[in-house]
Amino acid sequence: MWLVIAVASLCSHSPSDIELYQDNDTIVMLESVEIRSEKHELFTGSVKRQGIDHSIIKDNQHSDVATLLSTHTPVSVKSYGPGILATTSLRGGSASHTAFVWNGFNLQSPMHAQNDLSLIPVSFADEMEVQYSGGSALWGTGTVGGAVIMNNKPDFSPGIQAGYHSSATSNSDFHNSINTSWSNGVFATSLRLFHDHSKNQYFYINSRLPDNPKEKQEHAGFKGWGLLQETHYKPNNNNVFSIRAWHQQYRRKIPPTLFQNKAQARQDDDFLRLTAQWQGLFNNIRLDVKTGYFEDYIYYYDNTSIDSESRSQKQISEAELRYYLTEKNTFSMGFNHQYIKADVDDYSTEPSENKYTITASWRRKNEPENLIASLNFRQKFTKEYDVEPTPGLGITYKPLDKLAINANVARSYRLPTLNDRYWSPGGNPDLKPESGWTQDINFELSNIIISNTTDNLKSSISLDNASIAVFHRKMTNWISWTPGSGGLWTPQNILEVRSYGAEVSNTLAYKYTGKLNIRTTIFYSWTKSLYEETGRENDASIGKQLVYTPEHQAGININISAGSYRLSYNHRLTGRRYTTSDNSRWLEPYDLADISAEYTRKIMSVKTSVFIKIHNLWNRDYEVMQARPMPLRYFRAGLNINIGHN
């Protein structure tokens, strides 16, 4: 018995039509979205996810993922300056608690389990999403606060497409990128390139000098380039093969802090990401096999004493089998192998490790009751430590068509990094993994029409999305570097941290006669992340907020489009951040806004748009990290040219 299933071109939450070739005995009616959906969409539908709208990706081709997250999501981004290191903190976790997943591969560095998201160009993404909590059943070690997902989707619609972007800022920043793709329906290939050259001469206020003079940054210039090449082969509707290669290089000068008067530090960041994957469908079985090789190189040097090279490699191979037993039950089983290796000047040795993981999932759907439950299980085997199994359970209940209530319980862990274990001096190879349980509930309303008038004046107001989420997480064995007896700093599993909070967001859309479109999103998030145990008595940090974890964050995005014109405004507020563990010192809250205007014109099949953007519209003097100068207001102008049916 064969089942032929037509495939929808884009995954979405709403089912699309399916054709099936009927054979009366065993017919499994599947939503095509289920076939094509990545594992994390199918088996963790209850996890709170926030997709970043396609139009926002298109409008931010000049930008990097860290900046995009800081302006459009409640993710707390710790940026050391424009074009310089930026890491994330999700739901009160540390920078090593956010997984960065590219096409199903978790790219967290084996050295420090973090990702510098300021290096990732937005123009290399087709889809971006933030996953909140989720637990390690999803992406393995490091998925504690959540995950940032970046995906590339093959486009098999025949023809050529090309997009060119060029922009420049008043800080002498020049960004150019080209995205091209071609397909004949069976083969699809695409090549993306970007080039970034910036003197990064931004103005900032030096509040460490009397009279707070405005100064010009002279030591933050950088240049970088990258390419992403993809080739896909789809011989029939049942098989897709994809090969991808992503290579990138950045050379950056690190700006001095406000208390330093010598600027000498530089950093080179290079990486290579090679992946190959196959998706196959047979009867009611889907098979995913993928393998990837990832290499990272960092070279940091300053004229004083530090000249340090680090190189790390990661190989991931994974196979997953998904079995659609009945309409109501879907199973999945998987096997994953990871090999990591590092060659770091400051390590005592050149470590290499193998890790094996088995995964299993079960999804059950009860249609009449609108209830879907997923149970996920993951178990890692590694010679270096005993890892406990990480289960996760998620339930989605839809009492009304447009209201979904999701609840999740999952276990999270983060293996000690190679830095924690092998840094010399101090590395502790006996560390245990950080682990904990996370629970969350979220309520989501979608696509509610508030008002709708017909006749001649057709306008509608709709609530596209409204959600409230609450979460709680307790982590134990959290690793912290402390001076032991005798003064040697070593990492220990001494901290216990409890995090909890809530996120609220609303997206409203107003449409008028199809000619005016206004879309507004407001969000607010409250995060408490407290030291519960620090391994020392009479510690004033017990019960205090983790450093650099803001309790309050809020933002608003307004997008207005009318015919060929588009205007968008973005404003983000970030609350107080403590810089000491006893919360005796902090950085003041700040707000940051930007505005952009664009005009688009289409001539034959060439669509051209020009835009101007003002960053830091209200000219705020702010600090994200202590003593790191941030740019005052600056301007950007650019153009986008698109050819093809995109």
Partner: protein, 372 residues
């Protein structure tokens, strides 16, 4: 009788001071009075005296307390100058910011009083801030260092400044408040300094050596090998220079070395036991016969016994000892607890027998003391 004399009459005391300077009494009763008065006013008073009234016009009175050096957390720019007034009991933790309305800088390393000015060495800001010692008002800033550690005056107008990364010792003009020249330092990292009859001794932790510099020619003239990682020096009552070596993290053991400054030869060498941890902050008592240092706990070493003690002098009850100082008159021992190196620490005062007397809140990562 002494109780009667403990009266809060500053003018009366001033009168006596001048009298005593000119006419020295050998009469024993009057001598007792004299010494009692001396004890209360001339020398640093490390005893809290509640009956004496504080003259609130000046912030700090010479001889009444101790400055606390709060290093701050690296790159967090939260170093601060503290002061504990032993007469009034007042504790200040952020004097520089309170008086001058700006941050002190990143990593406040050490402090010295030279020619009636306070020199504050700010390691990661690469500057030395100069203030009035009694008002803490900013006088000048010396800029241009790479990673300065300690300052030592070598004559009326010149001082040397050691450096962690520069590979040289800076020569500072004290009247111009600027760097006038440099000395190429073969040992790389230069740390502690001591002026002796044989020249200026400088410890070089990474070279495991003590170098001498001739201050008249500003040249390195000699060196001596000591235990690994020499970090601090004191002079004892016999004039011997003791060097404390902390040892390295990969197993090389440190120890104490006594150098005869006249001959520049080692007179005593005592190696620490294996696994004794890293030792630092060598301090000496006012009598000049007992050394103290931090190696996890606080240890005492008597130069007369020449033998390491098997038990610590003060055992940590969870404190992370990071700074050590001894009151020049009262013999009280001051230690700092740096906690987790990212929050406000504490200063703990012990008697000369090692019994805890009281503790004070400090700034972020308190790391040293300057008795004033």
């Amino acid at each position: 009788m002494i109780i009667i004399i403990k009266v809060k009459i500053k003018l009366f005391v001033e009168f006596f001071k001048t009298k005593i300077m000119k006419h020295f009494f050998f009469n024993t009763t009057k001598l007792t009075i004299v010494f009692a008065l001396f004890g209360m006013t001339f020398f640093t008073n490390c005893e809290k005296d509640e009956t004496e009234d504080l003259n609130n016009e000046t912030l700090i009175e010479k001889g009444q307390g101790v400055f606390v050096i709060n290093e701050g957390a690296f790159q967090n720019e939260n170093s601060s100058l503290g002061y504990i007034d032993n007469v009034s009991g007042e504790v200040h933790n952020d004097l520089f910011y309170e008086i001058n309305d700006r941050f002190l800088g990143d990593v406040f390393q050490s402090m010295k009083i030279i020619n009636n000015n306070a020199y504050l060495v700010i390691n990661n800001s690469g500057v030395i801030e100069i203030t009035e010692p009694e008002t803490v008002e900013h006088v000048a800033t010396i800029e241009g260092f790479t990673s300065p550690r300690h300052i030592l005056p070598v004559d009326e107008t010149t001082a040397y400044v050691t450096d962690l990364f520069a590979g040289k010792i800076w020569i500072v003009d004290l009247s111009e408040h600027s760097i006038e020249s440099e000395i190429e330092f073969p040992g790389g990292w230069s740390e502690a300094m001591m002026k002796t009859e044989h020249g200026v001794f400088v410890t070089a932790p990474n070279a495991n050596k003590v170098y001498t510099i001739d201050p008249s020619t500003h040249t390195v003239t000699d060196s001596l090998e000591v235990f690994p990682q020499p970090n601090s020096m004191v002079t004892d009552k016999n004039g011997m220079v003791w060097v404390l070596s902390g040892g390295t993290w990969d197993g090389e053991v440190g120890g104490l070395t006594a150098i005869n400054p006249g001959t520049f030869e080692i007179s005593t060498e005592i190696q620490f036991a294996e696994n004794s941890g890293s030792a630092s902050d060598l301090t000496i008592n006012p009598a000049g016969n007992k050394l103290y240092y931090i190696a996890g706990n606080i240890w005492e070493f008597s130069i007369e016994e020449s033998q390491l003690q098997s038990e610590p002098f003060i055992e940590s009850q969870g404190e992370v000892f990071y700074g050590l100082g001894i009151c020049p008159l009262a013999n009280d021992i001051y230690a700092t607890d740096a906690m987790d190196f990212n929050q406000k620490g504490k200063v703990i005062k012990y008697s000369s027998q090692g019994v805890e007397i009281e503790s004070f809140d400090a700034g972020i990562v308190p790391s040293g003391f300057l008795f004033y």
